[in-house]
Structures are given as C-alpha cells and as structure tokens.
C-alpha cells in the first residue's frame, strides 16, 4: 500500500525523474534488443550471400567400381536436390592448333563432357566469351595459349598415343574454376590450388566417343535453399546432408561440398558480426545503464530526505524496501517494454526486420537477455541505492547535501589505472605478431574465438572513463586555476571564488557527469570512426577488386584493340584511362599474374596506397621503376622463397606477344607489393609495361582502368563505355558499383549501414541525455540553491555564471575525454578486429561530419539545459520560497 502511495506521489511530483529513469532503461534494453535484430539479419544475409555465391552446391564423384547412374538416381530421389547433372572429366596429353602457318601446342590438360542443358541447370558456370557456349569450346586461357578462335580445329592428344581433331565452336570462361576442377575427397591443401590451364569442354557424347581413357564421373548438384538462417547451423545442416548421402551410397561416392565450404567460411564472418555487436554495442548499453544511474542519482538528496521523513513517521526498513521495490518493478517493466517496442521499430527502420533472432528460441533469448539487462540497470540505479538508504538513513544524515570530499573507492584503489594497464597488456599480448580473433578451421564444425582479445578494448574503454573521472575530479580540486577559469570562461567576475568553491565541493557529482558524457562521446566517436574505417576499406576492397571506377578487360594475353583506349577515353563521363598489361609469368616454377604499368601515371589513376607496398612509399617505388625500367615489385612470399635483396636480378619467363613462346626477361627486385587493383590475394608481380613490352614483342594492354569524370557514377560511365566497347570485342566492362555488391567475404556483404545508423542514433540520444538531461536534472535538484542565490539579489548574469561554470566543466571534460578516449578505443577496435578488414586499413577514417554534428548536439543540449535551468531559477515557484 505504501509502495502504491509512494508511486502515486512520484507520478504526480517527480514525473520527470521517473520517466527519465525508465527512458534510460528503455535505451539500454532497446539498444541491446535491436542489436539482436542486426545479428539476426546479418546472419540471414550471410547465409543467403554464401548460398547465392555457389554455382554448383555439390560435386558428387562416383568412386571406382560404382555405377555413376546409381549415384545420379540416388540424388534425383533426394527431395532436397533441385538439379542433378552428370559431368565427366578425362585427361588429355596435350592440345595443338595450327593457324597462320604456325603450330601452337600445350601441355597436359582436362577434357570435360557435359550434357547440353548444363548451362540451363547451372547458369553462370560456363560463360560464353566468343562463339557458342555449347558444343566443343575452349576455356579462355586455353584459347589464348593456342591462339585459337571459333572455327579453328584443335587436336586433342589422348592417353595411349591417339589424338582426335575437334572443331572449336566457342571460347568460354569457367566461373569458380577452382571448385569445378577440384579433387573430390582430397584433404585440404593436398591437391593443386590452381585450376588447369588447358581445358576443352564438349558434349558428354563427344567425350565418350573419343575413348579418352579413364573417365572420372561426377554428378553436379544444386540443392534447395531452405537452409537455417544462421550460417553455422546451415553449415552443419548441409555438411550433415553430404555425410548422410555418402553413408547412403555406402562409400560409393564422395561429396565435394562447395555449399558447405562457403557456409563454413560464412560462419567465421557471422561470428565476427556478433563480435562487432559485442565490441560496438556493449559500451552503448553500458552507457545507457550509467545514464540511468546518473538520472536516478540526480534525485538522491531529495529521495534521502523523503525516505527519512517516512522513517521518522514510523516506516520500517522493510516497508521502505518495498517502496523501492515497487518503484523498481514499475521502472523495469515500463522501461523494458518500451525498450523492446523501440527495438522492434528501430530494427525495422535500420535492418528491415524487427526479429531479434534467427530462430524463435534465439529471438526470445535475445529479447529476454536485453530485458534482464534492463532489470539489472533498474536494480543498480534505483533499488540498491534506495535499499541502502532505507537501511541507513536518518534525519540528520538526510540533511546532508554536500559532504567533505572523499574519493570514490574505485579511484581510491586505483582501479582505473589497473584497468588501463590490464587493457593495454591484453591488447599487446593479443595483437603482437599474427593472431586470429576468430578461427573457423576448414571442415571442422567448431569455431574458435579468442574472446580474451575482446577484453582489451573493453577494459581500455572502462579504464579511460574512470581515469577521465579522476582527471576531472583532480582538475576541480585546483582552486586557483578553477577560479581563473570560471572568471574567464563562465563570466563569473566577482563571483569567481564562490562559483569555483561551489564547483569544487560538488566535484564528485560534476566529474561523474563529465565522465559519463566523455564515455558517451567516446562510444559515439569510436563507433563512427570504426564504421567509417570499415566503409573506407570496403571501398578500397571494391577498387582493388574492380581495379577502377570502370574496368575494361580482355583475357590475359589477349590485347585490347589499340584504338579502343582512345575511343573509351572519348566516351562521355570518362575522366582518365590507364592501360595495364596483365599476363601470366613464370617465377621459377610458379605461374603468377604480371601487371605491366606506366609508373608515371598509375599511382593517381589506380588510387594506389602506401599500405599496398613495402620497402618505400608507392610513389617512391614507382619513381624507381621509372628510372630503372627493369625494376619489379614482387610478393613478400617471393622475396622469402628466393631470398631476394633489393637490386637482385630476377629472371622471369614471359610469353612473347609475337611467337607465343616463353622468353626469359631479367628484372631487378625493387620492393614488395601486397595489393594491386584486380590482382589476386596471393603472389603477383608489378613491372614497367614499356620494359616488358620491349622484351616480348610489343605492348599487350588488356586492361583499361577507367576513372569516372566528376559527377558521373561508375555505373553510368560503365554504360557509356559499354556502348563504345561493343559486345563483339570479347572485352568485358565491370564497374565499381557492381563490385561493391559482390566483393570479399560475406561479412563485407552485410550492410553495416543499418548498424551504423542505429548505433550512431543511439549515440546521439545518449549524448544528448548525458549532456542535457543529467545537467538539467542536477540543476533541478539544486533549484533550492538557486532560489537562495536569487533571493539574495543575484542578477541574471550572476545566476548564469553558477550554471554556466558547471555546464562548462562537464562539457569540456566530456569533450576532451570523449575525443581522446574515442580515438584510442577506435584504434584498438580496428586493430583487434583486423580480420574484418580486407585489406587492413593504413589509418583510421574519421567521419568529421558526424563528429562535428555530435559535438554540436552536445553543445546545444548543454546550452538548452543551462538556459532552462536559468529560466527556472529566475522565476522560482512559490513552493521553492516556502522551502527556504
């Protein structure tokens, strides 16, 4: 009964405080629950993305002695199988063509027999480049090696000495060739990584008629996409299906599980997404809880007095505890429900889904967990302090508004310093050398996470907040300096001493508000900087993948029409065209990609960054290449393998443009290259295009890197360039906008924009709350003080100096702490989450627009809070006078 009466009084008299505390709880619950929405959507996206990227889900290989037809029948009977098509693989001893009086020969290769409807059942695997996509077709590399075109005859060498002439009907590109030519059942790393260079595709019947010796029979399978939404669960599901099939076929066939492999990789990214939430979201929830505590604490003095009155009137400690419990229940339930509702709305707004999990149980767990955090926040903010006061408060103690300074125990014990040291140590231990935060070993269901690494940034964040608290407290203890500051910056004039004294004696309250604001700003700053860095690196990844805004490419070794570069340069929307000579080159026994560039122009045109190279800046290395055209940039792996020192001669075998024969060209090692537009992630070589052209019978530029003119989007420029290039040229045109949608891992495919929007919005609300609400409630709690000062004859400017000084200290402390802390935490986050970035960033990206906006918001809310408090102090309510 007492609880309800108390509650009624709160609703009537202290509505602001009640709503403020419930809003804080709602913020904590809402942020956590909506992060659940992000994880759910991110996981679904990753599963979908991983599945969509796989063209052939399974390659089921019949084992010797097993009837391939039986395997096919078993697969067709499986309801989860949508398409199953037999594909035969055979070996060829070599291929040969004769054209223009010269004969071109290749080494051993692979013959593939497939049914005519393969392209319809598995679209995208075989992409026509010239001529027909069916019949006898050559892979593009093979066609380049043989100088063959549709209509030419290729002689296929057969095991046992025979050969068969076949008329080439087309040239095709084989997508995902690595898995298409995989050795099914081989342990990871035990089979060749690169697909074969020499490949002829033909109808199944043609291959059968060749009598090409041992034939490997596979069934290519596409599965239904009714997968669990969590990549880890989908991986277990698909892998289980594959193992189940193998068991059903009694070892008669092995499954090359391409879909399982893609989902396996997505598991890792999915965990990264969860860790992102932990690292970016938990501080936000913690700030919301601290804000709740601060709002509740702003009424502590008044509450203490009220409880003391109840105690004096005979209320027992347990009756007072029930009062606190009733208030806590109302705040927790109200705030929790409000938070979940807000999270549902925020989830739909930011991610397009209000669900808190990928399954009903995970959604309930996540929402329940968030609600429990709200309960915890309420217990810590309302119940525990009220219970403590109920047990200890007396009327005399309740009168105390200011106590002699006593350092909070966390600072007395130096916990801030310990946290900083521990955070630094964890960060150092986990980030030195090469480490992986998340490890999802291929073929193993379990995922390993170095959760310990997460402690680094979290400990640092907490340590910075507490250390900031200490610093602000310490600063407020410097009387002479404080008097000077308030005289100069708060317009205190002759009141500088009492204003400074007042601040000094409230140093604990004020420094708490400053530290809270600092932590909130640090959260906003670090989240914004992390997200901006992530976006920057996705863009870098897209540029590296596509090469430029728009890229025109023909197969390696097939030069684009020399006149084409000029025509592309003249196309509408084109800013600059940079020709790159992309070939394959033998470095020792390794076949690597070679990029011939113009060192004078390639840096600006290809947006090369210093982090892409080692041994000098990218400009200095290109200058070296311009001075010494025989300079070559190679991979670190090549440097290690060949024990290279700068200036060492490197003899590479490059195919001559005229004869097609491999010629040895001497280069000089000049530096290490780690990234280059369109280059693979493993080894490659960058050289001077003029030098390689002179040594190999002339230039063969087969990539045009096109920069868009100002105001033109890459997709518009691509359309413009496509109209110039034409469909019959054999060259393909790709653009950056499309690359952004397909680059990298499934994690980069997850739209962090929603998470960014959500977290940055929460950061804005929290910062406004920390700056405005906490100040305003603090001022409101001390309105009696301001009434006294006003009654003593204070003018507007004089009252303002008391308010402004406090606001100034909170604002300055918060902004400095938020800026420094945010920078440190963002840098540590980027380092800890290196695995998220591809390539790793060379520097932190700071979204100054958001940062300035956040700062402005905090300044504005501080000014508004101060103005409202001033306005109230200048017109005290009659009740305030009666309290004097």
């Amino acid at each position: 009964m007492l609880g309800l009466t108390w509650l009624g009084g709160l609703a009537r008299r202290r509505r602001g405080r009640l709503v403020g505390v419930a809003a804080g709880v709602a913020l904590a619950v809402g942020l956590l629950a909506s992060l659940g929405s992000f994880v759910a959507v991110a996981k679904s996206d990753m599963t979908r993305h991983a599945g969509a990227g796989v063209l052939v889900d399974w390659q089921v290989e019949a084992q010797p002695g097993t009837d391939a037809a039986a395997v096919l029948d078993a697969l067709k009977a499986d309801p989860s199988v949508q398409a199953a098509t037999p594909v035969a693989y055979a070996a060829t001893t070599g291929l040969q063509t004769t054209s223009g009086g010269t004969t071109q020969s290749t080494g051993p290769g692979v013959l593939v027999g497939m049914p005519a409807d393969y392209g319809q059942r598995f679209p995208g695997v075989v992409r026509p480049l010239a001529g027909s996509a069916s019949g006898v077709v050559l892979a593009q590399q093979t066609a380049a090696n043989l100088h063959a075109a549709p209509g030419d005859t290729v002689v296929v060498g057969l095991p046992g000495g025979g050969s068969a002439p076949l008329v080439v009907e087309g040239v095709v590109d084989i997508a995902q060739a690595d898995s298409f030519f995989q050795k099914v059942g081989a342990a990871p790393g035990s089979s060749p990584v690169a697909p074969p260079d020499n490949v002829v595709l033909m109808p199944s019947s043609t291959l059968a008629s060749l009598g090409a010796g041992p034939i490997t029979q596979q069934v290519h399978v596409r599965l239904g996409r009714d997968l669990p939404r969590d990549p880890a669960a989908a991986f277990v599901f698909v892998s289980g299906q594959a193992r189940n099939l193998e068991v059903r076929l009694a070892g008669g066939a092995l499954v090359g599980d391409n879909l399982g492999a893609a989902l396996g990789a997505a598991r890792q990214d999915s965990l990264y997404a969860q860790l992102l939430v932990v690292l970016l979201g938990l501080p936000g929830a913690a700030v919301a809880m601290l804000l709740t505590r601060a709002v509740a604490a702003s009424g502590a003095t008044r509450r203490r007095r009220e409880l003391a009155v109840l105690r004096a009137r005979g209320a027992t400690a347990s009756a007072l505890a029930s009062v606190a419990l009733t208030e806590s229940v109302v705040v927790a339930v109200g705030g929790g429900v409000l938070g979940l509702a807000a999270a549902w709305v925020a989830g739909r707004w930011a991610f397009g889904s209000g669900s808190f999990g990928t399954t009903t149980s995970s959604a309930v767990s996540w929402a329940g967990g968030a609600f429990l955090v709200g309960v915890l926040a309420t217990v810590l903010a309302v119940f525990v302090p009220a219970r403590r006061e109920a047990q200890s408060v007396g009327v005399v103690a309740a009168r105390a508004e200011v106590t002699r300074d006593r350092m909070p125990f966390v600072l007395r014990w130096g916990i801030d310093v310990w946290l900083l040291l521990a955070g630094g140590a964890v960060f150092w231990l986990t980030s030195r050398g090469k480490y992986a935060l998340v490890l999802a070993p291929e073929g193993v269901p379990a995922i390993s996470v170095s959760y310990w690494s997460l402690a680094g940034p979290l400990l640092l964040w907490a340590g910075i907040g507490l250390f900031g608290w200490r610093l602000v407290q310490w600063s407020l203890g410097r009387r002479a300096a404080l008097v000077a500051v308030v005289r100069r910056f708060a317009g205190a004039g002759s009141l500088a001493r009492p204003v400074a004294s007042s601040l000094r004696r409230q140093r604990r309250t004020i420094s708490t508000a400053g530290a809270l604001l600092g932590l909130t700003l640090a959260f906003g700053f670090s989240t914004a900087a992390f997200n901006a860095t992530y976006r920057q690196q996705v863009e870098v990844d897209a540029v590296l993948t596509n090469g430029a805004d728009v890229t025109v490419s023909s197969p390696p070794g097939v030069a684009v029409d020399p006149a084409l570069a000029g025509r592309v340069a003249a196309a509408p929307g084109v800013g600059h065209v940079e020709a790159v000579d992309h070939r394959f080159v033998y470095v020792g026994a390794d076949l690597q990609d070679l990029y011939g560039v113009n060192p004078a122009t390639v840096v600006a045109a290809s947006r090369l960054q210093d982090s892409y190279v080692a041994g000098g800046s990218v400009r200095s290395l290109m200058a070296t290449m311009a001075r010494d055209p025989s300079s070559a940039l190679v991979s670190a792996e090549t440097v290690t393998d060949f024990r290279l020192q700068p200036g060492d001669t490197l003899r590479l075998r490059v195919r001559d443009g005229l004869t097609g024969a491999l010629v040895e060209v001497p280069f000089h090692y000049a530096g290490v290259v780690k990234e280059f537009p369109t280059a693979p992630t493993d080894s490659f070589v960058v050289v001077n295009s003029s030098y390689v052209a002179a040594a190999t019978g002339g230039p063969q530029p087969n990539q045009l890197l096109v920069s868009a003119a100002s105001g033109w989007s890459p997709s518009r420029v691509a359309a413009s360039v496509r109209s110039v290039v034409g469909a019959g040229s054999g060259a393909t045109v790709t653009d950056l906008d499309s690359a952004r949608r397909v680059v990298g891992s499934s994690l980069t495919a997850v739209d962090l924009a929603g998470l960014t929007r959500l977290e940055l919005s929460f950061a804005l609300v929290l910062s406004a709350g920390a700056a405005g609400l906490v100040l305003l409630l603090g001022f409101a709690e001390r309105r009696r003080t301001f009434s006294i000062i006003k009654a003593l004859g204070a003018r507007r400017a004089q009252l303002r100096s008391f308010l402004a000084a406090e606001a100034l200290v909170v604002l300055a402390g918060g902004v400095v702490l938020g800026g420094v802390g945010g920078w440190v935490v963002a840098s540590v986050l980027v380092k800890v989450l290196t695995g998220v970035f591809d390539p790793p960033p060379s520097r932190l990206a700071v979204p100054w627009g958001y940062v300035v906006g956040l700062g402005s918001l905090v300044v504005v809310t501080t000014v508004v809070a101060t103005s409202l408090a001033l306005s109230a102090a200048l017109r005290p309510r009659p009740e305030a006078l009666r309290e004097l």
């Binding site: 004294s501 009654a791 204070a794 005290p876």
Partner: protein, 218 residues
Amino acid sequence: MNIVVAKGLSRVFTGDGGEVVALREATCSLASGDKVALLGRSGSGKSTLLHLLAGLDQPTAGDVSWPALGAAMAWPAGVVATVFQGASLVPTLTAVENVSLPLLLREDDEDGAEASAVAALAALGLDAIGGHLPDELSGGQSQRVAIARALAGGPRLLLADEPTGQLDAVAGASVVDALLRAADASGGALLVTTHDERVAARFPTRWTMEDGGLRCSA
C-alpha cells in the same frame, strides 16, 4: 520616508487541492527606523506577506512599492535582506562564503567582502565556524549565519521570517538583540515575523496576522 508601502495585497496559491488564499487585502508600510514584530499562528500568511515585501513574490492583487529604494530589479544586492524560516544557506559554500555572497553579488572587492563576512560572523560570535559547511552546523548556528549574511550587506529593509523558531530561549534572545542592533546601526526598517509573544514584546510595533488578514496595530 517610507521604505516599503503595500496597498490591498492579496496572494492566492493554486495547487492540487484547489485555491488557497494566503493573504487578503493587506495594507501597510514601513519607514526608516521602524521595528515591527508580525505576530500570527503558523499558516496565517506571515511568510507570504514577508516575501511580497521583499520583492521575492508577486501579489495576485494589490500593489507594493519601495519609495526609498526604487524599482525592485534595480536594488543592489543586500539592500533588502531576508532571513528565511528554514536553512537558507548555500550548501556548497562555507559560512564565510555564504555571508560574503551578497557583497560579491553587488560586486564588492573580493578580499574586502571576505573581511566583512568574517567581521559579521564575529559580531554574532560565530568566528570559530567560518570555514564550516552548512551541513556541519547546527540549526541555530545556520540561522545565525543567515542573519550575519543579511546584516553584512547593510540592509535598508531587513525582513526576518521566524528567525528564532529553531533556537532555544537564550540563543533566540541573542539573535533578536543582533537584529535590533543592526536596525539601529543601519537606520533602516526591520520586520520580524514570529509566533512567540516574548519575542514580539521586544519590538516597539506589533502587527498581527490571522487567516490572511493583517492588522497593523496590536
């Protein structure tokens, strides 16, 4: 010359329980040298009248003016001083800082203001507690510090709301002595509200307040 003149003052408060008439059509004036005790029971409207005469509140009806002081907004701090019924010290300032506050509000020299505050406290026998915070003072000490603060500014109009309400007889008597001495020294007007006949008996003029109505003669 009259320091304050009130004509037909009424004050009505509106709250959850409806309207409360705290003061009805009060008319009175105080001139330099006047020393008045305003007697009345708790809730009779004494504090409301005092707040209106101090310019801290606005009447619902009627008019109040300060012929010798000018418009309320133009007074230097401390010219009209009020000693409130409850603890009215700024909790974050020491006794000396509280007493010097009105002097600093009228932009006196900082060191001079502090010296005056120390002297004012000493005059009331409070020199030992100058560095104490209000929470470290007893009720009587707080009240005497508030009186010292009111006196430090050399007020022309000194209004004290139940200044002896929280004090024992001896302490109360010394506070009344101090108020009367201060009024003599400044030549201003003094109005003290009280429900204690013994306190009222020490003043040459007595007004009474009953249910919001004022009678300006005993």
